[in-house]
Structure formats: structure tokens, C-alpha cells
């Protein structure tokens, strides 16, 4: 069994955030976690090629990187493509999902990856792929690989694959026909009774997580518009007065830029563990474009720049937090008569 394995810069042993810009590299044989994968698959399983790519490069050059990787997988004559597992790493999950999806459709070989349920890559690709539920804890690598190996073996031997719960993969939103003992009416009543009693029940179909957001009407006269800047890159005043958490943030802050033409690195810090903050430290305008917005305000291109920017950290943040914070920020903007918001994201 010939395997090609994709790893990010960290699991590929190149380094941390400082190597996140590394373009796709090719290595012969298994690397790092790949060796464990080989072991667990056993038999004649061999990682013939390992592909490593920096997380930033993968996101910023996705199409080109994926096309390049497909060529490498084709050349390696792979029987199986494995990406990650990525746990909670969002850029890694996006890359792994994109790669698995492309390899599956272009090369028609089994593909498998692993991610935490909240990984952005999970929602983007769960309908198309078997994504093993890895949880967030990378110390569980061995167990996750075991689940991935089991699924991979089933895919290769074309054994029917069971439900997400049985096999350990993220729900795919697919509907399966199945013969059951009870009629739909009976099952429905059972569910309603359980719900009313406050007992656990399992819905047979879960609606999709993202309801479409209606598009607000466009600005008719920009020269009269009051604009607010928001960021999820975790830019906060030095000292982080509101103690906004770098990860799984539950709070957001509102920070004065009154009379300010230019954000200075020494006045701010970054509470966000998910990207290399050195460039924003050097010049925070690289994240919150205050200097340019002020210019545009002075030139009369926009009516007014609101004298505070709102900030929180988007890292590893579940929807339960971000939905609430988004609504709170929107309520504030509405109350202040803001006409438009520019949100800058890392």
C-alpha cells in the first residue's frame, strides 16, 4: 500500500509560526507522525512520500499548491492519501480538506484526514470527505491515527462504512436509507416525549449550521457615511485592559482612536495565538488600517471614521462565542448610527 502523507510546517518538523510561509516541500518516506501511521496500518503500508507546507502559504496559495500536490501524489502512484490530523489548527484543516477533496476527485483514490469539529476545514469539507473526529488534543495522535487507519482500510477494501458515531468521523450531513423497527411517527413521538421530559434524544437530521445572512443594501453616498473598523486579529491596547483571551475569546473590546492618525506598535499588543504577530507588532496599521482610513476621511472620501475600533480574537473560537459577540458588536454599531463596517481578519 503506497501512501502519500501531508503535514504542515509544525508536524513536518520545520518549525512553528515563523515557518508558516514555507512553500510545498517533498520528502521521501515517512516523517514524524507519518512513521506512526505506517506502523498502525501495518502490512505492506508504506508512506512513500511526505508533503510539507507552511500553513500561511497553503491558505494564501491554495489552488496552486493543491495542483502541485496532486502532481506529486500522481507521481508517487499512491493508493491512499492522508492529511494531518490537524486537530484544531484552522489553516491546516483548510489545506488538508482542500487537498483531500482534490485528490479524491482528480485521482479517485481513498483519502482520509482528521480534525476537531470546530475546525473551519471541517465545515468546509465534511460533506465531501471522511474526516475523523480528532478532538483538539494532539496528545491523542495515536488513537486518532488508529481511527484513521481503520477507516482507510475499510475504504481500500471497499467495506461498507458505518455511521459517524460507530466509525469516529465527523457527521457529513448525508441522509442514509435504513430499515428500522419503528415507524417514523413512533420515532417522532419518542423524540418529542424525550425532549419534553428533558431527556437526551438524537435528531435524525440536523439542519446546516450557517443560515444565509441577508445582504444589507449598499451605501449610496460614501462621502456621508460613518464607518467603523473591527478586527478579529486580537489587537488590544498594551496591557490588554479587558483581558481578551487569545484563544476561545469570550470578550471583545472597544478602543479609542480619537485624534489618532497612525497606530504605533508600542501602544498595542496582540492577544491571538494563531498567527505570527511580529508584522502587526511593527505596525498595527497592517491589521487595522487606521492611517489610510484617516487619510480618506481627511480627503472627504468617507464621511467619518468612528473614533473607536472594536477588537477580539477569532482563534479557535466556537460559534457560541462569535455569534454572540457579533450580535453585541452589531447592536453597538446600530446604536451609534454606523453606516458600514470594515472587518479585517487574520
Amino acid at each position: 500500500m503506497r501512501i502519500v502523507h501531508y503535514l504542515n510546517q509544525f508536524f513536518g518538523g520545520l518549525g512553528g509560526e515563523e515557518r508558516a510561509g514555507t512553500p510545498l516541500e517533498v520528502r521521501e518516506g515517512a516523517l514524524g507522525p507519518g512513521k506512526l501511521l505506517e506502523q498502525l496500518l501495518g502490512g505492506d503500508a508504506k508512506v512513500v512520500t511526505t508533503l510539507i507546507c507552511g500553513d500561511n502559504h497553503a491558505v494564501e496559495n491554495q489552488d496552486a499548491m493543491v495542483a502541485d500536490a496532486i502532481e506529486k501524489v500522481r507521481q508517487a502512484e499512491a493508493d491512499l492519501f492522508v492529511a494531518g490530523p490537524c486537530f484544531q489548527a484552522g489553516r491546516y484543516g483548510m489545506a488538508a480538506g482542500a487537498l483531500c477533496s482534490a485528490v479524491q476527485s482528480k485521482l479517485s483514490i481513498p483519502v482520509i484526514t482528521g480534525m476537531a469539529d470546530e475546525n473551519p476545514g471541517a465545515d468546509l469539507y465534511r460533506e465531501f470527505l471522511y474526516i475523523v473526529d480528532s478532538g483538539t488534543n494532539a496528545a491523542r495522535m495515536r488513537e486518532v491515527f488508529m481511527t484513521m487507519a481503520n477507516l482507510a482500510r475499510k475504504m481500500m477494501s471497499k467495506t461498507p462504512i458505518g455511521s459517524p458515531k460507530e466509525e469516529g468521523y465527523l457527521t457529513r450531513g448525508l441522509i442514509r436509507d435504513q430499515f428500522v423497527e419503528k415507524t417514523a411517527g413512533e420515532r417522532l413521538v419518542d423524540m418529542v416525549l424525550a425532549k419534553v421530559k428533558g431527556e437526551l434524544f438524537e435528531s435524525e437530521m440536523v439542519p446546516t449550521a450557517f443560515a444565509p445572512v441577508p445582504m444589507p443594501p449598499s451605501i449610496k453616498d460614501l462621502t456621508k457615511a460613518k464607518i467603523m473598523l473591527i478586527t478579529d486579529g486580537g489587537l488590544v491596547p498594551k496591557g490588554n485592559p479587558d483581558k481578551i483571551q487569545g484563544s476561545v475569546a469570550t470578550r471583545w473590546g472597544s478602543y479609542s482612536i480619537d485624534g489618532c492618525d497612525d497606530l504605533k506598535g508600542e501602544d498595542y499588543e496582540i492577544s491571538h495565538g494563531g498567527y505570527d504577530p511580529q508584522f502587526v507588532h511593527q505596525d498595527p496599521d497592517r491589521l487595522v488600517p487606521l492611517d489610510v482610513m484617516r487619510q480618506l476621511e481627511k480627503e472627504g472620501v468617507i464621511g467619518e471614521l468612528y473614533d473607536e475600533f472594536l477588537s477580539t480574537s477569532g482563534l479557535a473560537n466556537p460559534l457560541s462565542n462569535t455569534r454572540r459577540m457579533g450580535r453585541e458588536m452589531a447592536a453597538k454599531a446600530k446604536q451609534l448610527g454606523i453606516d458600514a463596517i470594515i472587518l479585517t481578519s487574520t
Partner: protein, 58 residues
Amino acid sequence: MQITAALPVAKMVGANRTVLGNGIVHVVGDAKATPEKEKEVRRKLVEQALSALQSDEK
């Protein structure tokens, strides 16, 4: 509207107006450019953002 380098995520959650930012670590900047050139890059991105705000196209 949203400026980000990770457009697939923005589109997935339903962002209607988006502009592609210049990378993860300096979404409205460019660490490789001179300060003057970088300001131009930033201005261009913000102007794209303002355009998007005035448009009813997704």
C-alpha cells in the same frame, strides 16, 4: 464587509461582501514592501473594501 486572506471561511459563514487580503500575517499590509509602497497596498485594499460597500453585487 470583510477583508481576509482566508476567503473560503468568510464565504462559508455567509459574508456577503469580501475582499481578498494580502496574507494572514499582514492582511492590509506588506512586510516585504517599502513603507511607501506598503501604504499604497493598504490604500488599494481599503478602496476595494469601500467599493464593495457601495455595490450590491456579492
